[in-house]
Amino acid sequence: MNLETTASWDLFWSSWALFRDPLLVAAIAGTVLGYLGVFIVLRRMVFVAAALSQSAGCGVAFAFFAQIHWRVSATVAEPRVWSLLLTLLVAHALRGSFHRLITREGLLAVIYVMGAAGALMLGTRISQEAHDIQSILFGTGVMVSPADLRWVALTGLVIGTWQLWWRRGFLFASFDPQGARVRGLPVAMLDITLLMTVAVFVSVATHALGALPVFALSVAPALAAVVVSNSPLITSVLAATFGMIAAVGGYLWAFWGAFPVGASQTCLAGLTVLAALVWRTGCRWIRQVLRSEQDPALKYSA
């Protein structure tokens, strides 16, 4: 067992050049998605992340389809651009007036299933890129391109900086929109900006990691952080940290266990929630035990 582990470490370090970029992408995407996840959870728009990531996957599949069957140049049918366009379109639709005709969760469900079904249907018509489609939907890809790393790093830096700068406004408008409106905060602007930044990063991260892990990383680490933390600042820091651990740890887990990368990252993200619940329950139990051990007679005898 030890020999096998040593061999795996040796293999890992000897192939470091190969693994460096995917790990960097996982670390950046996990951190930013974990941080954004706090707002996704706080605004109870968990399935918005699912609908956005599936739409991004469908956009990528459509770009490949257009390149192969309609002979559209790769510059025009650039997968990242189509992924971004479709995600922004969905984000815009979610802010629109459809809620008067259909419930929000109903609209989300339709977008989610259409995105997933669209990507799968297009995937059957582009057999040359079938592996890429699988990677986009489920995150089975082990490698990432240098372009993916550049895009994730650049958007991660811009959106991360923007989020930190506007953090107080986003938090106020998310936690107490009515109070924020009374105090003159630009709530509509904050809502649009938050949704668009989530949409853009989900789109870019989906191209690099896949829809399933992106959905998991944008929800589960934030949920875990909410369970164990005691303040908004600590929640954000923990969510970003858990996101990074789940993304990088999932990649390493996939390497040693020969699992699909996206599934490992998703599973590890889910485990952070489980661990947080166990931790919180354990802490509560210990507190109760300590309290019950304080014998009233002893307490007052002093």
């Binding site: 936690f175 109070g179 105090r183 933390s229 303040s231």
Partner: protein, 268 residues
Amino acid sequence: MRTEKIAATKPVWHADLLGVDDLVVGYRGAALLPPISMVVRPGERWVIVGRNGSGKSTFLKTILGLLAPVAGRVLKDPALRVAYLPQRHGLDSVVPFRAIDLVTEGLDRGWSFLMPRRAGYRARVRAALARTGVDAFAWARFDDLSEGQKQRVLLARALVGEPSVIFLDEPTSAMDLVAQQTTLDILDDLRLMQQTAVVMVTHHLSSALSNADKALFLDAEHGVVACGTVQQILADPTFEYHFGGLVDHHPSQCETGPLRVGSHADEP
């Protein structure tokens, strides 16, 4: 005729904080009450009274910009600093906000969230918490507090922003008698020391009317709005019909008759 009325009620900035000009409140374009005109000046104590469902909260939310008016307009001093204490907080308990986090949030106004907070803001937050008597719970999760404690934390959040006018929608409804009196004392101190105008919706008629300078009586059922001094409101027939036996004041003590702003239906 209309021009004269607007000119008469149009607030004079630097002296007036907020004016309501023929404001019609309601939902989806349907008027709930007749048009209302009033002017809130620095240091004034206003009380808004009426039965359940009389349109008090709707009127307050319309002034605050949370509901669109059916007609008319709300005029505000550009430098107006508004604070609002809602009847029931709609704060989500998903993210663990502590009392101190919530009060600190009260420092933000407009686009100020883009700038670093001013030096000494922690002391202001501490002072607001101490003033409302919740400094002992500063680090407790907001969700773990009792309803009365939550209302005091929200009052601290309203105070920390040094408002020029504070709107309160039944602020003492979940408080015990001591906390109620403390809250009223705090509001009175604020009014005297900082010239903050206080506009309060309440069901505690006797204490509210004896502590107020002016009152607005709303009755959506009979389509009646009366606005004026407390004495004028006490003399209003509709008010007398509904609340006459419930307040310590007697209408005969009033010096002048009621200032009736509007009526939709026959008076009782």
